[in-house]
Amino acid sequence: MNYASYIALIPLLPLAGFVILGLFGKKPFARSAGVIGTLLIFISTLLALYTAYQYFFVAGKQHGIYPAVKALEFTWLQFSPGLSIDMGLLIDPASVMMLVVVTFVSLMVHIFSIGYMKGEERLSTYYSFLGLFTFSMLGLVLSTNIFQIYIFWELVGVSSFLLIGFYYDRPAAVAAAKKAFIVTRFADLGFLIGILILAFYSGTLDFGTLIQRLTEPGSSALAQLKGYGFIGIPVFSWALALLFIGGAGKSAMFPLHIWLPDAMEGPTPVSALIHAATMVVAGVYLVARLYPVFVLDVPVLQLITWVGVISAFLAAVIACTQTDIKRVLAYSTISQIGYMLFALGLAGYTASLFHLFTHAFFKSLLFLGAGAVIHYIHTNEMGNMGGLRKYMPVTHITFLIACMAIAGIPPFAGFFSKEEILLTAWQNNQPVYYIALLTSGITAFYMFRLYFSIFWNKPLAHNHNHHGEGPWSMKFPLLVLALAAVVVGFIPFAHYISAGQQAAEHTIPISFSIAPVAMALAGIALAYMLYYKQNERPQKLATAMGGLYRLVRQKFYFDELYLFVTKKIIFNGIAKPAAWIDKHLVDGLMNGLGRATTGISERIKAWQSGSVQSYALYFFGGIVALAAVFIYWWTG
């Protein structure tokens, strides 16, 4: 079966959008940028769906699994024989799934943006950046080679930077964009070094070969990796942990999560696309990609698990105290990705990817809904909202669906995937299970806190809105995504996507679902109590919690900690001395040589006294010295 011809088009069409709108955005396409961009991604989406159809239903399984196919591959950069960066298109269940998710969500965001960004001066720039991002993300998911994934990893990073900083004249947006890029760059450093280690010992950068070389029985590469150590830890663990740091950075995992909430400075549709559905799950995807390798090292899996759990819990707690609706959603994203990661750490490959899949839909729906709200009311602050259900019926309903989905209320999508994850945790690690269960309760609470605050609570104080809920271009994506949030949970995910050979199809016992659903309902009930009507209770509660509340409200002072490290330690402690040393010591040395020369020159001026007698004396002295030295001391 030959995929190459059209699969290559899936990422290349958005790229074409980027190039066309980037170069000619000003003159011919200033008005039609949105349509052009949307059209291209629409074709991409159709092709992606067709690919999925072809892959899952036409080609089907071979020997009980869906085969991994390289639709296209060429050498991009040859390092040494056997070691090269190859660019290719890898088609396997995970990548096809991601293909669908990315193109679909991207299409929705493109459509939504037509309405949302209307009147924006730099519309073509916006759409070209969206194209660049979509291209990069698609390249990332289709990677055949660990370096290819790194390349696109960086590219999504920069598109994220560009889009966060889209409103470039707002200092906050600029700061957020820089923060996002630098924090993820720092994580990517780990990724890069991890790649270097793995590549050196396994002698390849290709995913397939790499996995095969490391997992084959009696693998010499694995033996070497486990044999050598650095500071008492095997190189293998270093490599995987470093790779994971890369993933954690992109996925905003604790303690590298600080960039994601700030990233909300970008246009809201961008947040929906990049910071909810696609780019931030790249870390999960990376670990999933190399899952057979990660499985070989238990300590790293545990690291992943605990990072995931802690992130899930902490982010959920922080989300309860935030008042900026996009920030709440951002923390909820961190929390949900934490779920996916600890599921991976606990061998729940399918569960994790399933949650990734469902999360993409309901989270982008939440963001787009939030976008619609912001579009309507021109503020992000929860305190300024309330009673919007009357004005924005479509948004209200779809938002509610999404909230139910994320809270894990059956039969919405989130329920199924979260259930899988909790089951995995229950089976493998009980403490994690309990924390996760608690977290899911908190999730339901803060989501409904958000929901009630926006749509119920106090009535809208003054409505100076002249336009309605928004054009159809905004409502349509909400409806489509809401539909998806309802139905995608019913897909028999495990049938299609599973780790390695075992196609583990199992059903979850009904009895297991009782606890999580009960937790979720409890959370909702609490939110209802506190936020359904305007009242004093939340305030009182916050006061009662005192220091704890402040700690959480200030996000555990992570930003301040980072600020301290960068400003005080790196800036004042390293960079300033370096610049000083360069100016005064190193350059001073060079200038000093010059000064010394002129100084000596000035000092010996007196030799040239102008008196002919002293000249003769020097003359004679020269003879005496020469004669003395060369006749008596230095002969031969």
């Binding site: 001026k605 040239q608 006294s609 102008g610 008196s611 002919v612 007698q613 003769a616 004396l617 004679f620």
Partner: protein, 103 residues
């Protein structure tokens, strides 16, 4: 009468250093010129003495002396002309007054 060569060389060397001393200490330009003549004369004595004592079979040394005397005369002539000219502009033939250029 047999004066050894060393005696004569001693005289010439003494003359040489007397000339040197004169050159270094006298401030009058003419006197300095005379001191230089002393040095040249010490060389002359050397040549003649070597010729007489060591290599009597040719007259290289003696001839050299003749040339030195002649050239010294020319040199003195030019030098005195210059000193006269110097006196015109400086109104002095003290070497210490003639050190405008230095450094």
């Amino acid at each position: 009468m047999n004066i050894p060569l060393t005696h004569i060389l001693f005289v010439s060397t003494a003359l040489f250093f007397i000339g040197m001393y004169g050159l270094f200490t006298r401030r009058n330009l003419i006197t300095m010129l005379m001191a230089i003549e002393l040095i040249l004369n010490s060389v002359n004595i050397n040549f003649v003495a070597f010729n007489k004592y060591l290599y009597p079979d040719n007259l290289n040394g003696v001839f050299f002396t003749l040339f030195i005397i002649a050239i010294a005369a020319a040199e003195a002539a030019v030098a005195i002309a210059i000193i006269i000219n110097l006196y015109r502009s400086h109104r002095s033939i003290d070497v210490e007054d003639v050190r405008e250029m230095r450094g």
